[in-house]
């Protein structure tokens, strides 16, 4: 359903392509010009250049907010940089970053939720204005789906994004989410069922 290249562009790529190898406290990864880079900073920078776009897109889908998505991804790569020498297997670096991005998204959503609760008590939101973009049917459909997806519980939402955006298997999603593959399948099943219900109600 999706080519390997497309999946890689979305941040679902495997690290084998980057082939950083552990060498004591440093790592070697291809630099932007194909030259080896031998520092943690060089390796992380090379990974960032290859994967930042996909990660930001992933976070943007989860959050619906570009700036926060960029912040979350920046934090994730910064965390990788700080922990580079402690990584047992630098070949799993991108899986680590992906998990960090998801964790970061959860944190942002929690903060947004708390803040919203506070703000709701302080001020009523002004009446909505319909933008020209929102009037487009295709965009409206897409936003309906995303809106419904973002109403799902966090686990179901993440499972759906990892499955249908990154094309990860249940096992890979499980590793990223820190749960079992059975739980992933269950979350996908329930998420799709809820999503279908919500879209039906909206239509």
């Amino acid at each position: 359903m999706t080519s390997a290249g497309e999946a890689a562009e979305r941040g679902g790529e495997r690290l084998e392509n980057m082939s950083p190898h552990s060498q004591g406290s440093t790592a070697v990864a291809p630099g932007p010009a194909g030259l080896p880079v031998t520092t943690a900073e060089g390796a992380v920078t090379a990974l960032y250049q290859a994967h930042a776009l996909g990660m930001i897109r992933l976070a943007h889908i989860m959050l619906g907010d570009r700036a926060s998505a960029e912040d979350v991804v920046q934090e994730a790569f910064y965390g990788l940089y700080r922990r580079w020498s402690a990584l047992a297997d630098t070949g799993n670096a991108i899986a680590y970053v992906r998990s960090s991005v998801l964790n970061g998204c959860r944190s942002v959503l929690r903060r947004q939720s708390r803040s919203r609760d506070r703000a709701d008590g302080q001020q009523a939101a002004p009446p909505p204005e319909i933008s020209a973009e929102a009037a487009a049917i295709t965009l409206e459909e897409r936003q309906e789906v995303l809106r419904a997806m973002r109403r799902l519980p966090a686990r179901q939402r993440e499972a759906l994004v990892l499955r249908f955006y990154l094309d990860l298997s249940a096992e890979e999603s499980a590793a990223t989410m820190g749960i079992g593959p059975g739980s992933v399948r269950s979350a996908i099943h329930r998420g799709l069922a809820s999503l279908g219900r919500m879209l039906q109600e909206q239509s």
Binding site: L53, G64, E70, E129, S131, R142
Partner: protein
């Protein structure tokens, strides 16, 4: 894949494609980014740092910085990887040093996840809030602040703001936030009565919130500089006369994110200092001086004073403010240094560069590279007294300490009471 699954996959793919490959900001590792994650109006981050004018000057710049720093701190760097030095900033200074900065400042105290609903006028000496103002209706939040030289006149940018909810409602709200008109107010503070008055400024044209990337009021309060990322506009407030300079190349003008004080002026109001960044995957930063009285409308005419490269083993700029001192002699900014062999030996400090030579002339307030962020918030006309934000506050959950404001003079740091803040929207 059934119809629902295809619909979901398509929606996710299209949502992801909203982020274009050429809009990915560069990675920033050398100085720690602020942990506070605010859903900004889409102000882009940029990467960081930088220095060096020429490759040949690199060694000299670094060596000079090291010598200066070692002199101030009374010790030399220990190069052993097992014994990374601990730098904790300049030692504490006397409370009287607080009088070396202007007595009042205006802060936009951002609350979680929203822009500032208020602006507060505070005392530099006591830290107390003297006056709190809110944007006149229908405007709801302040987004930018800049101060004139008299320490009584400030300019605030304001806009309407919609609470960002989740899903579709949040997207619409964010679109409205981004497209909302930005308006400007002059805040005049009267210390005798402890009152502040807001006066709407006549800035021509509709300025969308998302397009505005910084403001800087001239020292005499008569002209307002606005950054639009690829151009700078200066408006004469009395007449509305507008002059625009554009940046024709890649990258952008303005600093990190953008945030804080994008501009600084010379005392005579002729010269405007700003940062110009190289762009995606080229995080070289130039600090340029624009002669606002000279003819022309291209920012390429602005003279390059400093060039900061993003790489190891050179002194690099932190991604925040670079302030031109009012006498036009120095550029003051937070800098960082990361040795290639062992990043743990890296450090950051506040460095003043000569405008004439581009070389560092003063280095203070040295911290380890991962200690947190340093930001220069104000500089005295000759650069001898600064207001900075540095990471010596209370410990935070994720390691680095919180930032606090203080006056830095003679390599001594005097905290401003109640000055614990991590955000950067503040002006003296």
């Amino acid at each position: 894949m059934n119809q629902l699954e295809e619909k979901l996959a398509t929606a996710l793919r299209q949502a992801g494609e909203q982020i274009s490959p050429d809009s990915v900001p560069p990675l920033r590792l050398r100085t720690r980014r602020r942990r506070v994650i605010l859903p900004r109006l889409p102000r882009r981050w940029m990467s960081w740092l930088t220095p060096l004018a020429a490759a040949a000057a690199v060694a000299g710049v670094v060596a000079a910085s090291l010598v200066i720093s070692a002199t101030f701190h009374g010790h030399t760097r220990n190069a052993g990887p097992a014994s990374a030095p601990r730098w904790n900033g300049s030692p504490l200074g006397p409370p009287s040093a607080l009088h070396g900065a202007p007595p009042y400042f205006v802060e936009l105290p951002a609350q979680a996840l929203i822009y500032a609903r208020t602006a507060t006028v505070r005392s530099t000496v006591t830290g107390r809030v003297l006056v709190t103002v809110r944007p006149p209706r229908p405007y709801q939040v302040f987004t930018w602040v800049s101060g004139a030289a008299d320490d009584r006149t400030f300019v605030l940018a304001a806009q309407r703001w919609w609470n960002t909810a989740s899903g579709q409602a949040g997207t619409l709200a964010q679109n409205r936030d981004n497209n909302a008109r930005t308006v400007f107010f002059k805040l005049t503070f009267d210390p005798a009565t402890r009152t502040a008055h807001l006066t709407r400024l006549a800035v021509p044209g509709k300025i969308r919130a998302t397009d505005l990337a910084g403001v800087g009021i001239s020292p005499d309060g008569t002209r307002l500089a606005l950054s639009f990322r690829n151009s700078i506009r200066i408006i004469t407030l009395a007449t509305g006369l507008t002059r625009t300079w554009t940046w024709p190349g890649h990258g952008w003008v303005g600093n990190f994110k953008p945030d804080g004080q994008i501009f600084s002026w010379s005392a005579d109001g002729k010269t405007l200092a700003f940062q110009q960044w190289g762009g995606y995957l080229d995080s070289t930063v130039h600090v340029r001086l624009l002669d606002t009285t000279a003819p022309g409308n291209s920012l390429t005419a602005a003279k390059v004073i400093l060039t900061f490269f993003n790489k190891d083993d050179v002194l690099t700029i932190a991604p925040f403010n670079t302030l031109l001192t009012a006498d036009g002699s120095r550029i003051v900014t937070a800098t960082g240094f990361s040795p290639r062999q062992d990043p743990r030996l890296g450090y950051q400090n506040i460095t003043e560069f000569s405008v004439r030579t581009g070389k560092p002339v003063l280095s203070q307030d040295k911290f380890g590279a991962l200690a947190g962020d340093q930001i220069v918030l104000w500089a005295s006309p000759d650069g001898r007294a600064l207001v900075v934000s540095d990471p010596r506050g209370a410990k935070t959950q994720d390691g680095p300490r919180a930032n606090i404001f203080g006056v830095l003079a003679g390599n001594k740091f005097t905290p401003i009471p109640h000055g614990a803040r991590t955000q950067n929207q503040v002006a003296w």
